[in-house]
Amino acid sequence: MSIEVKNVSKAFGNVAAVNKVNFSVKEGELMALLGPSGGGKTTVLRMIAGLEMPTEGDIFIRGVRVNDISVQKRNIGFVFQNYALFKTMNVFKNIAFGLKIKKWKRADIAGRVEELLKLLGLEGLEKRYPHQLSGGQRQRVAIARALASKPSVLLLDEPFGAVDAKIRQELREWLVHLHKDLNVTTLFVTHDQEEAMEVSDRIVIFSKGNLEQIGAPREVYEQPANEFVARFIGVMNVLEVEVQNGVGRVAELEFPVPTHPDGKKMLIGFRPYAVQISTDLAQYRYRAVLVRTYFLGIMLRLELELPSGLVLRSRITKEEYALLGLSDGREISLQIRQYRVLSSEASGLPPELHTTYELPPTIGEHI
């Protein structure tokens, strides 16, 4: 394990910023700390770096407990949200700073800086000052500076927060490639779920100082541990149902949940792609009207209104839309092929009951 965070809490005065958090990062992994602002993810990153001290709990880097090791001695590379480049130093001196402090030989420093300039595509900019660089260049200088003395982990705080949306996409891909080349354990903070899904090997999701779920992007998308994750990652239909005789009901919809006790309220979640539709009104069990279509490039999102007034969201491809000859106002039939029981504070369900239920495939279905 490259980084281990064990039972770590952090309070600022009376405010608990981080609450008994546990997770670990494997050697060479690229991991995202994801959550809305104020979720505690940056505080966790800063505690790993040694810029904040945990109120309780232990942090290990490569097996060594670092709680009592100062930020200077932790051998970490940290990239600040606004890069925090030394504005009185040029690019070369910025990157060389840590090496000079560590008393590297002059020739070795020059060699290492050159290597990094090449690696990060900054050749020719070594004499420039931070104010003479573009946002993307500044970020690369900050990363080069953090990597210079070969840290055991690279920590990045909102690495794409300060650049234009246009450049952000390029930078994401670039970070993935860089990580592949260097294979250094990397942990980055983001509030953008798309970014976390796209870039990282695994995601740690925070909300209000609590760790909500850890998992690969696909895992947290398909098997969200709770309502927060379900709503935060991607789009999800979330409905509150009441269980009677092993079936959860809301309006005209029924969700078989055999192992759940009667009389309880619980939350059922399903992704738009799990809502299958057909123009053949006899094909599926429920009737609905297509009230609105959103064009999202190759995919379309449909808003479907049931006779009870309940609105569900579905997602189909452009081709399917054309094939079905759909248009707003059209009546359709639908079924929910896959759904999941989400815990919520109200329901307090034990984790083993967060099951995903799937209907058996039927003949001639549209996905």
Binding site: A49, G50, L51, V71, Q72, K73, I76, G77, F78, F80, N82, A84, L85, F86, K87, T88, M89, F97, G98, I101, K102, H131, Q132, L133, S134, R145, A146, A148, S149, D164
Partner: protein
């Protein structure tokens, strides 16, 4: 219809632009008043100092300055500045650092206290030290018993000067440090730098112009202070007279007018030098700022 709607804001814009611009005669009257005022009340008196100082020629000028009592005043002034300016440099840095980089109770009180010397009349500042360390003061008896002289001696003059010049460095540095924030320092720490290395390589270079500006203003005031020093010095000729005190004494009949103006000319020269350095520092910082702005504009146009 569309054309009609578009034309409206344009006419409004020209009207408002005309409204904010004053008539030429207003502009020129104001400029003339400003120039004449500066000439009559600022420049002429200053030039007169030099004129009076050299009225009887170079040799008299030099003789006035090398007079043992005047020479002692010049030396004392330099000694006081050499002690008080570095001390206030350190105090000012520490205070500005504390205010800009930390959150603590009583921070606004500290800011107010730093400004206190500006609010208090210099004479009162001097009097405070007399009341503390003078023969009738709280510590007077004890100091006398231990044969330590503060009031009517050099230590008193240094204390009063430090008090009066305390705000200059801190006042200049606080906004600069607040604007810089502490992220660069944190970055230096993550790169392995010690607190001292961080201060030396990161903090100091980023505030150097503000610091220099504060120091030259502090120095000018330290050398030129009259009121506070006058109260604590005791005016012992050849011992506790600083340059400003010596100028007054010479002019009030203990010497010649030329001698008074000769010593005064040194203070005036110091003032001009201070202004020169101040203008240069301002020009330097402005240029650095402009360059940064231009670089940003270039980047934007590239995109």
């Amino acid at each position: 219809m569309a054309g009609h709607v578009q034309s409206k804001p344009t006419s409004l814009q020209t009207a408002s632009r005309r409204g904010t611009e004053d008539a030429p005669w207003v502009k020129w009257t104001l400029i003339s008043i400003g120039l004449v005022f500066a000439l009559v009340f600022l420049l002429l008196p200053l030039l007169n100092v030099f004129f009076q100082a050299f009225a009887k020629g170079w040799s008299v000028y030099i003789a006035s300055l090398t007079d043992p009592d005047s020479w002692s005043a010049i030396r004392l002034t330099l000694i006081v500045a050499v002690i008080s300016v570095p001390l206030n440099l350190v105090f000012g840095l520490a205070a500005a650092w504390a205010i800009a980089k930390f959150e603590f109770r009583g921070k606004s009180l500290l800011i107010t206290v730093i400004d206190l010397p500006f609010a208090v009349s210099p004479v009162v500042s001097g009097l405070m030290f007399v009341l503390l360390f003078g023969m009738q003061g709280y510590f007077g008896q004890w100091l006398d018993d231990h044969n330590i002289k503060i009031i009517f001696a050099v230590p008193g003059i240094v204390l009063a000067t430090i008090f009066v010049t305390f705000p200059f460095v801190a006042r200049e540095l606080i906004p600069v440090m607040q604007a810089t924030g502490s992220e660069q320092e944190q970055a230096a720490l993550t790169l392995g730098a010690s607190g001292w290395q961080t201060f030396w390589h990161v903090t100091l270079p980023s505030v150097k112009w503000g610091l220099l500006y504060g120091v030259i203003l502090c120095n000018a005031r330290a050398m030129g202070e009259f009121g506070a020093v006058s109260v604590v010095s005791g005016h012992i000729t050849g011992q506790t007279d600083t340059m400003p005190l010596r100028v007054q004494k010479l002019y009030e009949g203990y010497g010649t007018t030329e001698a008074a103006f000769a010593v005064a000319s040194l203070l005036a020269l110091l003032a001009l030098l201070t202004l020169g350095i101040k203008t240069w520092v301002e020009w330097k910082t402005q240029r650095a700022y402009d360059q940064a702005q231009r670089a940003v504009a270039d980047l934007k146009s590239e995109i």
